[in-house]
């Protein structure tokens, strides 16, 4: 019995050691230091790769922290906000959900700025008679700066006005959470196409 226990413990330790080896090897595959040669002759400069991150990596708590990312802001349509709508005579109200996801217990909240005329996303639509800026059609119903706690979801309503009459001939334009910025990556999953 003791021999069996000792053997199984040894197997578990071996597996654990393999885990550490695989993780360190994988990280170093991307950051592999290698002698870089060139047409100019041999070089001893080490070479490292720069990955391209997407939401698949940003939202993965096993991957994101390796790049110093401890959370992200996720924005989505509220259930009552359709992905397509027809703009009638009056303004429309759209509601987006802002959720802060933290990967670190030390990161408990994030500051989010909502200013259609500030940093962040801007959308323009070119039509036959010119270009209008969707940001100019939008106003938010919340303070310019809000705090979202880790794990918290806050609904944010925006009012969407019609493009000025002098912009004619547009068929559709995308609307979205323009002018939103934060000190964490933003994953914008909203989809709203506005038809005339």
């Amino acid at each position: 019995m003791r021999k069996i226990l000792g053997f199984t413990t040894l197997v578990a330790l071996i597996i654990f050691a393999l885990v550490l080896f695989v993780e360190s090897s994988t990280i170093s595959d991307t950051d592999a230091a290698a002698d870089v040669s060139s047409d100019g002759g041999p070089s001893s400069t080490s070479f490292h790769g720069i990955p391209f991150l997407t939401s698949m990596e940003i939202t993965d708590p096993q991957i994101a922290p390796k790049y110093g990312i401890n959370g992200y802001l996720h924005i989505s349509n509220s259930p009552e906000t359709p992905s397509e709508l027809t703009l009638g005579e009056y303004e429309q109200c759209l509601v987006f959900l802002l959720r802060f996801v933290s990967f670190s217990p030390e990161v408990t909240e994030t500051q989010v700025t909502l200013d259609p005329s500030g940093s962040g996303l801007s959308i323009e639509q070119v039509c036959k008679t010119g270009t209008f800026k969707v940001n100019d059609l939008i106003s938010y119903n919340v303070s310019k700066t809000i705090t979202i706690k880790a794990g918290e979801t806050i609904p944010v309503a925006l009012i969407l006005h019609k493009p000025p009459a002098n912009f004619a001939g547009w068929v559709s334009f995308p609307a979205g959470p323009v002018g939103i910025s934060a000190n964490v990556p933003i994953i914008d999953d909203t989809e709203v196409t506005v038809y005339g």
């Binding site: 695989v22 002759g41 070089s43 400069t45 720069i50 914008d188």
Partner: protein, 290 residues
């Protein structure tokens, strides 16, 4: 005995879960504008996915087309790259949606990040563009959903306004030799989190150019495979795009400012000529160039 079994189960599950969550490989293949290093304030490329059967892409993978450019200080193009790399990219997912993911990097860490859905793979064209005007960097996507929108030059324009980093005031374009390594400062190409081998996908890069303050211009183009695609240097190291070579990808169609990357099993070599022409860039549409 029970404790030992629990220990084995925990170790095994940890091992298996670690394999599934292993850092992605980031295969990459691209091209670069091959000319004497100059400064530029904007870079651009037209990209498309429409020849790809997106439904064959596994849901755990993405197919990206990325433009990458090195930032620099004080308009000194030969000796002062800052180490910052600015990237604008579009990703094709297994459901056919196309997502936009601008970002910037320094010494292996991201400085900023944003992602948004901007259309689908049937769009006629997307133009990726990055502008620098200190203290701001502007990432733009011009999306043309249909032939009509393209013919009328009526795109939707997405802009993400962010900042410059490390005091950058300009981009570097072209190639230079530094400490025995050739640096290809503006690259365009294809990248994935993992090699997509399930379908013979195609990605087109077209109208690749930079703005020299007077006109949109381009040099001759060549391929840059991973390991031979250093784009900047920082902290004594060379930094390139991606994490490994995109084996099985070839440049199957080329013309001035144009390459179509195709996964067919044949791997293109490094520094293969894509086009030999150079000069002012002329396009069918004008909005992406304004």
């Amino acid at each position: 005995m029970a404790k030992a079994l629990i220990m084995i189960m925990l170790a095994t599950s940890f091992f298996l879960s670690s394999i599934a969550q292993v850092t992605a490989d980031q295969p990459y293949v691209g091209g670069y504008l091959d000319g004497t290093v100059v400064n530029g304030s904007r870079v651009i490329a037209d990209v498309y996915f429409r020849d790809t059967d997106y439904s064959s892409i596994p849901s755990s993978k993405w197919l990206g087309t990325v433009i990458s450019v090195a930032g620099a200080l004080n308009n000194n193009p030969i000796t002062n790259p800052s180490g910052v790399v600015y990237q604008n990219g579009l990703l094709l997912l297994s459901n056919g949606s196309v997502r936009w993911a601008p970002q910037a990097w320094l010494i292996g860490y991201p400085l900023c990040y944003y992602e948004k859905s901007v259309g689908n793979c049937y769009y006629v064209a997307y133009y990726e563009r990055i502008d620098i005007s200190s203290p701001s960097v502007t990432y733009k996507i011009f999306a043309y959903p249909s032939g009509q929108s393209h013919d009328n030059d009526n795109p939707a324009i997405y802009t993400w306004l962010n900042q410059t980093y490390a005091g950058d005031t300009t981009f570097l374009i072209g190639k230079q030799l530094h400490d025995g390594v050739y640096y290809k400062h503006f690259q365009f190409g294809v990248e994935s989190n993992q090699r997509i081998t399930e379908t013979q996908w195609s990605v087109g890069n077209n109208m690749v150019a930079y703005y020299n303050g007077t006109a949109w211009y381009y040099y001759s183009g060549k391929t840059a495979t991973y390991g031979n695609n250093a784009i900047t240097w920082a902290s004594g190291s060379a930094w390139g795009i991606g994490g490994e070579a995109y084996a099985g990808v070839d440049a199957v169609e080329t013309d001035a400012q144009y390459v179509r990357w195709n996964y067919s099993g044949t791997s293109v070599s490094n520094d293969v000529s894509l086009w030999t022409q150079s000069g002012i860039s002329y396009d069918w549409v004008s909005k992406p160039y304004q």
